[in-house]
Subunit: 155 residues, 2 copies
């Protein structure tokens, strides 16, 4: 209690650098996606649906680390713009399977182009080996913090 702990400058603390990297990347992606009239959340939602068609709102929310309510807003917006299609009637429980509309797939293709540019720029200074290592180390951090707990962000 005598001294206030860590004296290392924030620039060398993993947490700080991690936040900075996430912030800068998000800003860069926002800029890249703005001409396509897509936010990062909307883009991520479309890409997830391309890889895993038929996901429900709750499943998408978990995959994107946001609440069901937030995801619901994203889905409503994308549906209203004709970029995706939700079953009007739940085939099983209350879950509404969601799929990309043709317009959504088209928009996503352009978005992936733009995002790819940003990603390449970000990783320009890293070897493929370093890139894999970075992913692995970050994943190790996530699991060390108890990845098992966050079944959902809210709830």
């Amino acid at each position: 209690m005598s001294q206030a702990g860590i004296s290392r400058p924030v620039d060398e603390q993993v947490g700080y650098v991690l936040k900075k990297a996430a912030t800068v990347l998000r800003a860069a992606m926002d800029n890249a996606l703005r001409p396509l009239d897509l936010t990062v959340s909307q883009y991520a939602c479309l890409e997830l649906l391309r890889q895993q068609p038929g996901l429900s709102g709750s499943e998408l929310a978990r995959a994107m680390f946001v609440s069901r309510q937030s995801m619901n807003l994203v889905l409503k917006g994308l549906e209203r713009r004709g970029l995706l299609i939700r079953s009007p009637v739940p085939p099983h429980g209350k879950a509404l399977p969601t799929r990309l509309a043709p317009a959504g797939l088209e928009r996503l293709a352009a978005a992936n182009e733009a995002v790819s540019v940003v990603e390449k720029k970000m990783l320009a200074g890293l070897t493929p080996e370093a890139e894999r290592r970075l992913c692995a180390d970050l994943t190790a951090c996530v699991e060390a913090l108890g990845d098992d707990l966050p079944a959902d962000v809210s709830d």
Copy 2:
């Protein structure tokens, strides 16, 4: 335009893993700081002021990647609670130098204890060597994305 680009699952994309790590870390820090009645933003603000006393609101905002306006709200809250002190009159331009109050330093010491636990847990699976490498790689990513641009988040 024929195929929608990246087919790699999102779990292996740096951007996705980066966001996940940042989200999980923030959640863990929020939990750790809640008993102390501090948010992550408030904690970061106090820690920055400990390392660099006398910073103005705008300087703090830049260091924390938020807008001046957001930082202003954080500072008002901390000042009202007696955790920091702002010069009532600007000594030079309009910038108001800010310093930790004794109560703030005390609270910060406890907060650093709590945050240190979370950080240790997160880095448990990494060697010190890997930790440094992780920081370096993330910093490289930030700089590759054009670290020079974001003078301020807003503006």
